[in-house]
């Protein structure tokens, strides 16, 4: 039997977060997954995990905390309050959407371990005329995994079972 694998970070954490934001902004804010800045327009939101850490380990499951970083980029030639107002407005809107969706649905049962943190005026790229804010959000997700048992025969050959199915994996 093949080991069932879940792409937790992409399918259960990043994509649901991106989808609720895409629904809210309706194409007005391009959103992408990457660890570095991409020049794709006047404004954009980059999402990427910094790390994950184990919170709890139970028989047949593990619970991880994912530290997700969202970076908001606004290109502007303005050097006045209006540029800042647009930055604050979009970041607050993102923060509000995240708060309103702090628990995922049945397809992606994530939930937040805390509220989003926001940091403005981040210096990240060499580009000029770009305002940057960071939003960090801690996401919890529990994965239920397959369990196997080891039976060792007298000649030290191994048989592995999973939920009552027996087969030889070789030794």
């Amino acid at each position: 039997m093949a080991l069932s694998v879940t792409n937790i970070i992409y399918d259960k954490v990043l994509t649901p977060l991106r989808d609720v934001l895409r629904t809210e902004f309706k194409g007005a804010l391009p959103i992408y997954f990457d660890s570095t800045f991409k020049d794709i327009g006047t404004k954009a939101l980059r999402i990427f995990p910094n790390s994950q850490s184990l919170q709890d380990r139970r028989h047949g499951s593990f619970l991880n905390l994912y530290d997700i970083e969202m970076t908001y980029y606004l290109r502007t030639n303005r050097d006045d309050e209006k540029a800042l107002d647009q930055l604050y407005r979009d970041v607050t809107r993102i923060e509000t959407v995240l708060l309103d969706n702090r628990v995922g649905g049945s397809d992606s049962p994530y939930f937040y371990a805390g509220q989003p943190d926001v940091e403005h005026d981040v210096d990240e790229t060499d580009l000029s005329n770009v305002l940057i804010s960071k939003i960090n959000i801690p996401v919890l997700y529990e994965e239920i995994h397959d369990t196997y048992k080891l039976f060792s025969t007298s000649n030290n050959k191994y048989f592995v079972s999973s939920d009552g199915s027996f087969y030889i994996v070789g030794n």
Partner: protein
């Protein structure tokens, strides 16, 4: 007569982990145990021991907890949604192998305490995931 002993780090820990991962990836993911790092191929892993501590002393048995670091390197020249999805898919696969398969072998109390994601210019286009691992074994 010389003392009879087991090279626990190699035989009881690192080789079990590396052979299991290699097997589940059908030998498509090379794993290196080497003190001298260098980039190799499109994706690969390195495994190194950090430290160990004794759980307790028992008569004629040595129960130890081993702390290791596994670094997964994945070359990503496309840098698009599909390539990122594939990178995280590999991370998920390695994680499931640890919790599903390796616990059925001679190791127990196996934990991936954290995974950190790195990507820098000096990484030559590789994405990196640093797995911090904790396992126990009795010999």
């Amino acid at each position: 007569m010389a003392t009879s002993f087991t090279n626990a780090w190699k035989e009881n820990v690192e080789e079990i982990i590396s052979s299991t991962i290699k097997d589940r990836f059908s030998n498509s993911l090379p794993i290196f145990r080497t003190p001298n790092f260098k980039f190799r191929g499109n994706h690969f892993m390195t495994i190194k021991g950090i430290n160990s501590s004794s759980d307790n002393s028992m008569y004629s048995a040595i129960p130890n907890k081993f702390f290791l670091q596994l670094d997964y390197y994945h070359y990503d020249n496309k840098r698009n949604d599909t390539s990122i999805k594939h990178f995280f898919s590999q991370i998920g696969r390695i994680e499931e192998i640890f919790y599903s398969i390796l616990e059925a072998r001679e190791l127990f109390n196996l934990l991936i305490t954290s995974i950190t994601f790195e990507d820098a210019e000096e990484m030559q286009g590789f994405r990196k995931a640093v797995f911090n691992i904790e396992v126990s074994n009795v010999r």
